[in-house]
C-alpha cells in the first residue's frame, strides 16, 4: 500500500469513514491489520473521540434557550446591508446587544454558571437561617444569585442581607443598581459588596466585576478590590513554606519585555514543566508566588511546585506543597485534590498512619467529594472504620 493510502487509512478512523464503500472499508481494514502506524493513529483518534463523547459536559437546554432568546429578541436592522463596514458594525452591535441581554438575563435569573436549580429562600425571616448548599447548587439571596463552588454551610440573615460562610466556597453575583449592600462574612474577614461578581471562600475573595471592600471582623478596612483583583487572608502573612524552598537556587531572570504578572510566570512554569525543565519551572513558579498571586494562582503555583518536586523525586516536598494547598484552599477543587494526593503520597512512602489520617480528614471534609469512593475503598482495605 502506498503512503497516501496509508494516510487515508489512518485518517478515516471511526465516523469519518461513513462515506466509504464496503470494498474500500475492507481494503483499509486489511491494511490496518498489517500496519502498526495506522493502527496506532486510529486507536488514538478513536480514544480521543470516545473520551470527548464521554467526558465533555453537554450544553444544557436552558443555556441554548437563553442564547436563542437573547439573539432573536434583539431589534434587527433592514435585511439589506450593502457595505461590509456597516455590516460588521451591525454584527458587532448585535453581538454586544446580545451579550448585554445575556448578562442582564443571567443577572435576572441568577445564572452565574451552570448548576443545579433550587428554589429561592423565603422572604425576610426574623433571624439568620442555616443553610447547606451542595457543590454546584444555586439559590437566590435577596438581590444576589449565589452558587456553591464546593459543599457549603452558611447562615443567611435576610434583614441584614448578610451571608455568614462557615464552610466551602461561593460564587456570588449581586445585581447592580439596587443601592443595597450585600455582606459576606467568614470567621476571618468580611466582604462588603455593591453590585458585583465575586468568589469567596474561607481563605479569601476574588472579584470578577465591580468592586468590594474587605474588612476585618472588627470592621478595619483591609483591602479595596476591583475587577480582576484577589485577596487572601494570608497575603499579610509570611508564607511558611517558602522558607523551606531551595534558597540557593539561582534567581530567574525576568524578561523585561514581558509583564511580570503571576499569570505570565505560571504560564512559563507550566511550559517548563511540560518540557521537564524542572529547575526553570520551579524558578518561574516561585516568581509567580513573589508577584502577589491571587488565591487561585497561589493554589495553582503550589500544585505545580508539588509536581516539580514529584518529578524531581522529592516526595516529601511534594507532600508539603499539597498539604499547603489543602489547608489554605479547602473550599477549592485543587484543595480537595491536593489533600487526596498528599494521602496517596504518604501511602506510597509507606507511612500508613499518616496516609490514614489524611484519608479520614478527606472523608470528613468532603463526604461527597470527587475521590470519596476511592477514599472509602482505601480505608476499608486498611481496616480503618
Amino acid at each position: 500500500m502506498t503512503g497516501a493510502e496509508c494516510y487515508r487509512s489512518a485518517g478515516l478512523a471511526g465516523r469519518g469513514s461513513a462515506a466509504l464503500s464496503e470494498a474500500e472499508r475492507l481494503r483499509i481494514e486489511d491494511h490496518r491489520a498489517s500496519c502498526h502506524r495506522c493502527r496506532r493513529i486510529a486507536a488514538l483518534d478513536d480514544r480521543l473521540r470516545e473520551m470527548a463523547d464521554a467526558a465533555l459536559p453537554r450544553t444544557g437546554q436552558r443555556a441554548i434557550e437563553r442564547a436563542i432568546e437573547a439573539t432573536v429578541s434583539q431589534p434587527v436592522a433592514p435585511a439589506a446591508w450593502p457595505g461590509s463596514r456597516r455590516r460588521w458594525a451591525f454584527a458587532a452591535g448585535v453581538a454586544v446587544a446580545a451579550a448585554a441581554a445575556a448578562l442582564a438575563l443571567g443577572a435576572a435569573t441568577g445564572e452565574i454558571a451552570r448548576g443545579i436549580e433550587t428554589p429561592a429562600l423565603p422572604g425576610p425571616a426574623p433571624g439568620p437561617v442555616a443553610r447547606i448548599l451542595a457543590a454546584g447548587e444555586r439559590t437566590e439571596l435577596a438581590h444576589a444569585a449565589v452558587q456553591a463552588s464546593a459543599d457549603c454551610e452558611l447562615r443567611w440573615d435576610p434583614s441584614q442581607r448578610r451571608v455568614e460562610l462557615e464552610r466551602g466556597s461561593l460564587s456570588i453575583a449581586v445585581t447592580p443598581g439596587t443601592g443595597r449592600s450585600f455582606t459576606v462574612a467568614t470567621p476571618s474577614f468580611v466582604v462588603i459588596v455593591l453590585g458585583t461578581e465575586l468568589e469567596v471562600d474561607l481563605e479569601g475573595v476574588m472579584v470578577h466585576r465591580g468592586s468590594v471592600e474587605v474588612r476585618s471582623v472588627g470592621g478595619i478596612l483591609r483591602a479595596k478590590l476591583g475587577a480582576g483583583d484577589a485577596w487572601t487572608r494570608f497575603d499579610e502573612l509570611e508564607p511558611e513554606l517558602e522558607l523551606h524552598e531551595d534558597l540557593s537556587a539561582p534567581e530567574a531572570t525576568p524578561d523585561s519585555r514581558r509583564a511580570p504578572s503571576p499569570a505570565a510566570w505560571l504560564t512559563e512554569g507550566r511550559a517548563h514543566l511540560a518540557d521537564r525543565r524542572l529547575e526553570r519551572a520551579g524558578q518561574a513558579i516561585r516568581q509567580a508566588l513573589d508577584a502577589s498571586p491571587s488565591s487561585r494562582q497561589h493554589r495553582e503555583a503550589h500544585t505545580l511546585l508539588a509536581e516539580v518536586a514529584l518529578l524531581s523525586g522529592q516526595v516529601d516536598r511534594a507532600i508539603r506543597h499539597y498539604l499547603l494547598v489543602a489547608s489554605r484552599h479547602p473550599g477549592s477543587l485543587q484543595g480537595e485534590a491536593a489533600l487526596f494526593a498528599a494521602a496517596r503520597l504518604e501511602a506510597r512512602r509507606g507511612r500508613a498512619a499518616a496516609a490514614d489520617e489524611l484519608l479520614q480528614r478527606y472523608r470528613k471534609r468532603y463526604p461527597r467529594g470527587r475521590f470519596a469512593d476511592e477514599v472509602e475503598r482505601k480505608l476499608q482495605t486498611r481496616g480503618t472504620p
Binding site: I41, A52, W81, A274
Partner: protein
C-alpha cells in the same frame, strides 16, 4: 438564489429567515442549536466560554442570514459560522489558555470503577485541550474538527476554507505535536502508552 437541495417548506423557512422573521429564526435556531453547541464544545473543550460562543454564533447568523444562498445545508452554513467564531476567539486570545493541573496520578485507576474512570477521562481530556491550546489556530482547528468531532477531511477543508492537502497536513502535524506533548505530560504519558499497547 440557487436552492436545489432545499425542499419547499425549507425554502419558505429560509426565505423568512432572510427577512429576519423572528418565528422562523427561532425555529431554525432551535433545530440547529444543539448540534452547534456540541460542535463548539468539541472545539473548545470544557470551557466556560462555550455558551458565549454559541450565542455569538447565533448573533452572527442572524446578521448574515440575508446572504445565505442555500448552496449548502443550513446546518453546514451555521457550522461554518461557528468555526469562524471560535477561530476568531482563539486568535484574539493573547494569553495561553489556563489549564488546571490537579494532581499526578500515582497509581493506575481501577479498571471497573465507573465514577473514577469518568473523572480520569475528564482530567485526560482537560490536558489534551491544554496541549491543543498551545498549537497554532489552524492546526488545532483542523485536528479538533477531524479527530474529535469526526468530520471527514473534505468537510473540514470546506469548513475552514483550506485545501484538502493543507488540512491533511495540519491534522498530521497537530497529531504529532499532541503525541509529543502527551509523552512528556505526567498525566497523559501512561494513557498514551496504554493506547500504543492496545494497538500493538
Amino acid at each position: 438564489v440557487n436552492e436545489p437541495a432545499l425542499k419547499v417548506e425549507e425554502r419558505a423557512l429560509m426565505d423568512a429567515c432572510r427577512r429576519r422573521d423572528r418565528g422562523a429564526l427561532e425555529e431554525v435556531f432551535r433545530r440547529e442549536a444543539p448540534a452547534l453547541a456540541r460542535l463548539i464544545a468539541r472545539m473548545v473543550g470544557d470551557s466556560a466560554e462555550r455558551d458565549d460562543l454559541l450565542q455569538a454564533t447565533l448573533a452572527e447568523a442572524l446578521v448574515a442570514f440575508p446572504r445565505f444562498r442555500g448552496d449548502a445545508a443550513v446546518s453546514t452554513w451555521l457550522a461554518r459560522i461557528a468555526v469562524n467564531v471560535v477561530r476568531q476567539s482563539w486568535r484574539r486570545r493573547s494569553v495561553q489558555r489556563r489549564a488546571r493541573l490537579e494532581l499526578v496520578p500515582l497509581e493506575p485507576a481501577p479498571a471497573a470503577a465507573g465514577p473514577d474512570r469518568a473523572a480520569q477521562a475528564r482530567r485526560h481530556l482537560e490536558r489534551v485541550y491544554h496541549h491543543l491550546g498551545r498549537m497554532s489556530v489552524a492546526k488545532r482547528l483542523a485536528f479538533v474538527l477531524h479527530v474529535i468531532d469526526g468530520r471527514p477531511i473534505d468537510e473540514v477543508a470546506a469548513l475552514t476554507r483550506a485545501s484538502r492537502a493543507a488540512t491533511r497536513s495540519r491534522v498530521f502535524w497537530a497529531r504529532r505535536a499532541l503525541i509529543s506533548s502527551a509523552r512528556r505530560d505526567p498525566l497523559l504519558a501512561g494513557w498514551l502508552e496504554e493506547i500504543e499497547e492496545e494497538s500493538r
